[in-house]
Chain length 204, copies 2
DNA sequence: CCTACCGATCGGTAGG
DNA sequence: CCTACCGATCGGTAGG
């Protein structure tokens, strides 16, 4: 009897979680497509085949969905970079692996990545502030890799701000044009992007 | 008497135009800051110190402002590229000048550029369709320069879609981080970006 | 998860 | 450029 209750409780738990997950995923698609502000809770409810009021059994507010999305993605990106930083490799290789990791995370959650990048500004305070601090920290860690590479003589003495912003621009736009069903996989894409940025377009 | 009427008519014309310009510019700032959907006509009116209803003496609708902004910028970008295409220079130089032209246009209208890039999706049909066609055409002309450069042996055999999307990502994010009051001017910025993409980060 | 509903705000119009 | 106002829609709550 106890076992049955535990199973039942677990199932309810799972069901709640997965229903909330479903709501967040459906929202993610709509936020990507139409933008956060232009997506209504009625749009979202319609996509799930329920009434707008019913959404509030699973989430506290529209913004809570955006918060969950943005901070979950931020966490994944951070973890991916931490693995690279601790590796004992040269700076070109660190940069390459940082790029590969970022693209892998993005490819796993293409829709959420697009929202993460385009819609985070609709976070209210203090979430927006926290989010931006995390982002600038992440960018600065890539910048440090480039600076270290310059100091070590691996990279040219470029403007590091320009270099890192160019890198991030390229990375961040990808969810908007990358076709995961296409011929090129995330790893190949990452390697080609790294080649291009590190070695340039020009034949030697 | 006739002269006076003509002068009067001209002044009214200029005044209407410049007031409409003011409305579009104020809207541009708000659209960049908060996004198109999250900017209300009351926000815009407040920024101009008038009532929301008064805006409609100068513009027909909220979307008309976005249309004016987007298509004006598209026209500028197109003109800039046309000058480059007709020049008799090699493909590295064509690419470089294309980049410089794009950045110059952006730097002249930083706010409008940011809106152009981030908010065009809120255009309704058939404007959205026209806009996207113009954009794909513009991108394809850059892509052709890269393809020609590869065919001529100037560039490596990279994935041209990746190369051109990387280029555009970098260009399009600039309005969000470039500080025109900083030490680097648009020309320097363009040259450094071109150097980086064409020659790469790595020391030879 | 639903029905019924709330106050606030939206883009825009009429008429001056 | 204003006052006065419109119908539609917004995010969200009460209560079941």
């Amino acid at each position: 009897m106890k076992a049955i209750i535990i199973i039942f409780v677990k199932m309810v738990g799972v069901e709640n979680l997965s229903r909330k997950e479903q709501v967040i995923r459906a929202a993610s698609e709509l936020f990507k497509e139409k933008g956060y502000a232009a997506t209504s809770m009625r749009d979202l409810a319609h996509a799930l085949g329920i009434e707008a009021a019913s959404l509030y059994s699973h989430i506290k507010s529209k913004e809570e969905i955006l918060q969950a999305l943005c901070f979950e993605m931020a966490k994944r990106f951070r973890r991916s970079l931490e693995e690279v930083e601790s590796a004992d490799i040269n700076f070109s290789e660190k940069l390459r692996r940082g790029i590969l990791g970022h693209i892998r995370v993005m490819a796993e959650e293409l829709t959420a990545s697009a929202v993460f990048m385009n819609e985070h500004r609709h976070l209210s305070q203090p979430y927006l502030r926290d989010f931006l601090l995390m982002r600038i920290n992440y960018i600065n860690r890539f910048k440090k890799i480039i600076e270290s590479g310059i100091a070590a003589g691996e990279f040219k003495k470029v403007d590091t701000k320009l270099a890192v912003m160019t890198l991030f621009s390229s990375l961040n736009w990808m969810p908007l044009w990358y076709d995961p069903s296409g011929m090129i996989n995330p790893n190949q894409l990452g390697n080609q992007l790294a080649d291009m940025l590190i070695d340039g377009l020009k034949t030697k």
